[in-house]
């Protein structure tokens, strides 16, 4: 089973083989989990959403015509499941402004020779996470798929149902926003 290509496993799973579907889960669980984690940021929600993604995929398997790659289709389900969850969560929380505890601008605070290197590096990571989380969902999704998961613009376009040009512009805008928000921490 481990050596079979995705297409064969999908066909077997469609015919009702739970083992074939479990093998597909085994193959993509880490990628799906780490993608969702970049939005949910906690294990509990990520675990729920990852399970939901695979259950949705299983229940929609008969509709999958196998024109696209299985993982692209699976990513799309993961993104839809996660986006719906986040929209619901945002609605519940209300729109909160991102707290910006900006440091005074001036000379660069980040230098590899600085004794505070590690703590500054940690701070930069935290600020980056906050900045990514504050991006509008469509931009966050595009950024996560490309910058974290190394998808090409074409693959991301397939997952997000938009053109490659849109993906390219979203990446540019996302990077520009991140660069602006992180400016005091460089």
């Amino acid at each position: 089973m481990e050596e079979l290509p995705d297409d064969s496993l999908v066909r077997m799973a469609k015919k009702g083989s739970p083992d074939a579907f479990a093998e597909l889960v085994r193959r993509y669980q880490k990628k799906i989990y780490s993608t969702i984690f970049q939005f949910a940021r906690n294990h509990h929600d990520t675990d729920d959403l990852a399970q939901e993604t695979f259950m949705n995929a299983y229940q929609s398997l008969q509709k999958f015509r196998q024109k696209a790659n299985f993982y692209t289709w699976l990513y799309r389900i993961a993104m839809n499941t996660t986006m719906n969850f986040l929209r619901k969560k945002h609605r519940e929380k209300g729109r909160e402004e991102l707290k910006e505890d900006r440091l005074p601008s001036g000379e660069s605070k980040f230098s590899s020779s600085s004794p505070e290197y590690q703590s500054q590096k940690k701070e930069f990571k935290e600020k980056l996470k906050e900045a990514v989380d504050s991006l509008p969902l469509a931009y966050q999704a595009t950024f996560v798929l490309i910058a974290y998961q190394d998808l090409t613009h074409g693959q991301a376009a397939e997952v997000l149902h938009c053109s490659e040009k849109t993906v390219s512009w979203r990446m540019h805008m996302a990077r520009k926003v991140l660069q602006n928000k992180l400016d005091p921490y460089f």
């Binding site: 739970p18 083992d19 579907f21 479990a22 093998e23 889960v25 085994r26 669980q29 880490k30 989990y33 780490s34 984690f37 970049q38 294990h43 990520t46 990852a50 399970q51 695979f54 259950m55 299983y58 229940q59 929609s60 398997l61 008969q62 509709k63 590096k121 930069f124 990571k125 980056l128 996470k129 509008p136 469509a138 490309i146 910058a147 974290y148 090409t152 613009h153 997000l160 149902h161 938009c162 053109s163 490659e164 040009k165 849109t166 390219s168 512009w169 990446m171 540019h172 805008m173 990077r175 520009k176 926003v177 991140l178 660069q179 602006n180 992180l182 400016d183 460089f186």
Partner: protein, 198 residues
């Protein structure tokens, strides 16, 4: 070459999605422009840090058990729940029948009521599309400012390519928004609509 255009290309370059010609232009520009070099360094720093950000590490047991948990949930589903499609076999013939009836009625309508009056012309409403975009952007002033910059840079990029292809060497030529071709407006409109839907 303007820095705004180069910033967009730097982003494409980082994703390995830039053509050879544009790549060369970016490299030449970076040699002359310290501001763009700093911008590129900042983006690279962001990219490097992204790779170090916690991707949700869990114990190895979790990965071993996860597929079994999914399998258990699948086996606990009732047969009807295993497929979510409304096109299950019981309904399939009903759908086919409904589609056939619809086709027959449409055919009859087209034969007997062929429109003789002048066809309605689709009016492209650029203003409405923009209004929707601004509604989406809401009070996010940062995004609004960025949207303006990006739209302008997008138009400049497209026009820059047209300029190179059709009127090489026509330096300083500008293209007022209201003179965009219908095709360009439609393309812009479809991009905006996609953004709104997403």
């Amino acid at each position: 070459m303007k820095c705004k255009e180069i910033e967009k290309w730097i982003s494409d370059l980082m994703d390995g999605e830039l053509s050879e010609r544009k790549r060369k232009e970016v490299e030449d520009h970076l040699q002359e422009c310290p501001l763009c070099r700093v911008y590129q360094e900042k983006l690279e720093r962001i990219q490097t840090t992204v790779k170090e950000v916690d991707s949700g590490r869990v114990a190895p047991d979790y990965w071993e058990e996860f597929p079994s948990r999914i399998k258990d949930r699948i086996s606990s589903l009732k047969p009807r729940q295993r497929e979510r499609s409304p096109f299950a076999w019981g309904w399939k013939w009903a759908w086919v029948g409904a589609a056939l009836i619809l086709v027959v009625f449409m055919g009859l309508y087209l034969i007997h009521f062929q429109p003789r009056a002048e066809q309605e012309v689709y009016v492209f409403s650029f203003e409405d599309a923009l209004a929707q975009v601004f509604q989406e952007i809401g009070e996010n002033s940062e995004l609004a400012a960025l949207f303006n910059t990006v739209i302008l840079a997008s138009i400049e990029e497209t026009l820059g390519e047209i300029e190179r292809e059709i009127v090489p060497g026509w330096e300083g030529w500008s293209f007022p928004e209201e003179e965009l071709t219908e095709e360009e407006l439609i393309q812009l409109d479809s991009e905006i609509k996609k953004e709104i839907k997403s």
